[in-house]
């Protein structure tokens, strides 16, 4: 176990390092922040002067080594656009992103468990079909259009909920529903398939043979076992929710990390991009590690 954890942590560090290095060279090679910083009527001399001041005229590997050296000490440099440390700009947005990701995650898993269990319990075929159809229809909708649809219905039409920004719980409802319901169909299918597999297991037959009721068998015996594959997928999805909520953050003008990174890419604000990518890859890797460890909790047979 200890060996496994140590190995995974070392792997994780290597992964994060690789991601940051790739990100560094990709953004450097794709554009020049000095030109985007200046007004359109800047002269060639203005450009040369600002490039010099920003240290962009030095060879890229020198810049890279310097960056790695500083990053190892926790210094990701100052934002080019905003005169403050890049990492603190990213960290400022983390609460907003966490809030949205965790709520969406809870919405997605919660809905999947409730609806999935209903589908298993009910004997009405039409209800089962209806739930699956709704979930599939939802997933067929791109996040952007679904978000707009939610805004048109709940903000413009009914006037119940705000369509932009962050603040009260009301602000959270539409983005969390939009983001959280996206993976619903996937969770449902997975959950159903895994319940169906459990159903054929010996221990289920034994439970029935002991005279236990259908609901008791489902809730007490099958459900905990059926959760395993969901945990795997959900863990990866949580990572995606943290970093991949860009579209949702854009539709609902949510001030999260994803939007900051996209904005920084369009301004070639290197330090902020890299700080953001570093943080997100770190979170992703850590979540994966936790998922692996959760496995052994949920299924004592899994040993490393």
């Amino acid at each position: 176990m200890l060996y496994f954890i140590t190995k995974r942590i070392l792997q994780s560090i290597l992964t994060v390092f690789g991601v940051v290095t790739v990100a560094f060279f990709l953004v450097r090679l794709s554009g020049d922040p000095s030109l985007l910083l200046l007004s359109a009527d800047a002269t060639q001399e203005d450009i040369a002067a600002i490039r010099d001041a920003m240290g962009l005229n030095r060879p890229i590997w020198v810049q890279y080594l310097e960056f790695i050296g500083n990053a190892l000490q926790g210094d990701f440099g100052n934002s080019i656009r905003q005169n403050s440390p890049a990492m603190s700009l990213v960290l400022e947005r983390v609460p907003a992103t966490l809030e949205l990701a965790l709520t969406s995650f809870a919405v997605g898993i919660g809905l999947a468990l409730i609806l999935g269990t209903i589908m298993r319990i009910t004997r009405k075929v039409w209800l089962r079909e209806a739930i699956m159809w709704i979930a599939l229809a939802r997933q067929a909708f791109p996040v952007f259009s679904f978000g707009l649809l939610m805004i048109l219905v709940f903000s413009v039409g009914l006037g119940w909920l705000p369509s932009l920004g962050r603040g009260s719980w009301q602000h959270l409802v539409l983005p969390a529903l939009t983001l959280g319901s996206y993976e619903l169909a996937l969770y449902l299918r997975l959950f159903n398939a895994s319940l169906a597999t459990e159903q054929r297991q010996d221990y289920v037959r034994t439970a029935y043979a002991k005279g236990q009721g259908r609901l008791q068998v489902i809730f007490q015996h099958m459900l905990p076992n059926a959760l395993l594959p969901i945990v795997t997928v959900a863990g990866i999805n949580l990572g995606l929710l943290l970093g991949g909520a860009v579209v949702t953050e854009t539709v609902f003008s949510w001030p999260g990390v994803g939007r900051l990174i996209v904005q920084s890419v369009s301004q070639r604000d290197f330090p902020v991009i890299i700080a953001g990518v570093f943080l997100l890859s770190l979170i992703f890797v850590v979540i994966n590690l936790i998922v692996d460890l959760l496995y052994s909790v949920l299924d004592p047979r899994v040993r490393f």
Binding site: V156, P162, S266
Partner: protein, 499 residues
């Protein structure tokens, strides 16, 4: 609806006849105004930011020495009067004595000197571009400031309007980081709260020298998605959206509580040629491209009126505009003939253009490529994201044909002539005659003579066809009914105009 059409018709008529909206329009002022912008401000430190978006902030929170009016004329702001020496090297500004910073301290020439020096001493400040001609700056007394330039510049009074005066004592006391967190200026609005990517809240500064503004509270909300800006207006969460895509104009205009206005902008969309490289080094091919394009079809059909075909690289509201430059009419037969005569061998013409930041950029580039193909030219479309496109433009790196829109924030032809016609700008084929004329108009103090020189340069440019103007950009503004807001050509919101 009828009234709306009528108003739009009247606006179109006013534009067509060359009339401009009155400089100081009177609006009914709401207590709080919420404005949707496409993004957040990069920084609240005025010397760190030259972005067009940032003008919405800087014009309201800071004072500048001078101000350019809606009609393009230069007027006083912090400076009440100013003079230039005969050689146009020494510029002396007299400051008003009743201006206060938001912390209550008076605005003096020392603050202006501090601001200019702070920018000049900071090689990372992008605003140095606006002071690049300044050799030295000196406060003569508390209310007189003198700039010495390193070359004559007749419209320095316009360039200085981009410098936002910062308070020396406060800035020195709180330091750079402190100032970035709590910036103060002497403008009509104070910063109250900034939640990045969510909102910037401003509050009227009651002791503003120009009188307390009527709109007491203003909120700028960054809303990156076009469609979300429209829905925010529909749901009533914002009062004003400064740019609407043409596709949503009709939908929004049908909405009862919303008014949509079409406003002439400050940029001209044009085609640029790398005239050094084949095949565009051939003047016949450049002419063929010019006359193959149906500008009316683009502005009316594609842009639905959000553009006006033009024959000049500056819009009508700029100093130096001359209505004698008319838009090229399409003549496809002649275009085909020119291509045939040119000895064009079918080598592909690479057509670079920015796929975002411009209304319907892709559609327009495709339409142009269609015309050129019809004329017998082979065109390869090369869309690029704006941030990838723009540096190529600044560095004159396009291999043959490109499309771009550019406008002068100084509302003056000089900006365009300096950055797109003379050596040192985005010029592919240098022309010493134009260089000399551009320098001459910079020195010319008489506006009539200056306008003559400007027209001469544009005339040479039109004959050379290194750039071919297509249309003046218009933009659509959406607002709550009865707000009565009249947008500026630059699209920046001056909150203090609501009276």
């Amino acid at each position: 609806m009828f009234m709306h059409r009528l108003r739009q018709g009247a606006a179109a008529l006013a534009i067509a006849t060359g009339l401009l909206v009155p400089a100081h329009q009177v609006f009914a002022a709401p207590e709080t105004l919420t404005i949707a912008l496409p993004g957040d401000f990069p920084s609240l430190v005025p010397s760190d930011d030259t972005s067009p978006l940032g003008f919405n902030y800087r014009l309201n929170v800071f004072d500048q020495l001078t101000v350019i009016g809606k009609d393009g004329k230069i007027g006083p702001r912090l400076a009440t009067e100013w003079t230039a020496s005969d050689d146009l090297l020494k510029w002396t500004f007299k400051l008003r004595t009743d201006a206060l910073f938001h912390d209550g301290s008076p605005v003096t020439a020392h603050d202006v000197e501090f601001t200019a020096r702070y920018i000049l001493d900071n090689p990372k400040s992008p605003t140095r571009t606006f002071l690049r001609l300044v050799d030295s700056v000196k406060a003569i007394d508390d209310h007189t400031i003198e700039f010495t330039l390193n070359q004559p510049y007749s419209i320095f009074e316009r360039q200085i309007s981009f410098i936002n005066v910062m308070p020396k004592d406060y800035h020195t006391k709180v330091g750079e980081e402190g100032y970035a967190k709590a910036p103060i200026g002497s403008g009509p609005y104070k910063v109250v709260n900034w939640v990045k990517d969510d909102r910037l809240e401003l509050e009227a500064f009651d002791k503003y020298w120009g009188g307390a503004p009527e709109v007491k509270k203003a909120v700028f909300r960054p809303i990156p998605a076009e469609a979300s800006r429209a829905t925010a207006l529909m749901s009533g969460e914002v009062d004003l959206v400064t740019t609407l895509p043409p596709a949503l104009v009709d939908t929004l205009a049908r909405n009862d509580g919303i008014e949509v206005k079409t406003v002439p902008g400050s940029r001209v969309m044009f085609l640029g040629f790398n005239s050094n490289a084949a095949p565009l080094d051939n003047p016949k091919i450049r002419e063929a491209i010019d006359i193959a394009i149906d500008r009316e079809a683009i502005t009316q059909g594609l842009l639905r009126g959000l553009g006006r075909a033009t024959g000049m690289m500056i819009p009508p509201n700029n100093v130096g505009y001359n209505p004698e430059f008319v838009a090229t009419k399409q003549d496809m037969a002649r275009a085909k003939q020119l291509v045939a005569e040119s000895g064009y061998a079918g080598e592909p013409i690479l057509f670079d253009y920015p796929s975002n930041n411009f209304v319907l950029a892709n559609e327009i580039a495709q339409a142009i490529a269609g015309y050129l193909t019809e004329a017998g030219l082979k065109v390869e479309l090369r869309p690029a994201e704006f941030t990838a496109f723009f540096p190529q433009w600044t560095q004159t790196a396009f291999p043959s044909l490109y499309m771009f829109a550019y406008g002068s924030t100084q509302y003056h032809a000089d900006t365009i002539l300096t950055s797109m016609y003379s050596t040192g700008g985005r010029v592919y084929r240098l022309n010493p005659e134009i260089d000399a004329l551009v320098a001459e108009q910079k020195r010319e103090r008489d506006p009539v003579k200056q306008a003559e020189i400007i027209s001469r340069i544009f005339k040479i440019g039109a004959e050379d066809r290194d750039n071919v103007p297509l249309y003046d950009e218009f933009f659509a503004v959406g607002m709550k009914k009865d707000l009565g807001y009249e947008a500026w050509p630059d699209g920046f919101v001056r909150l203090y105009e609501f009276r």
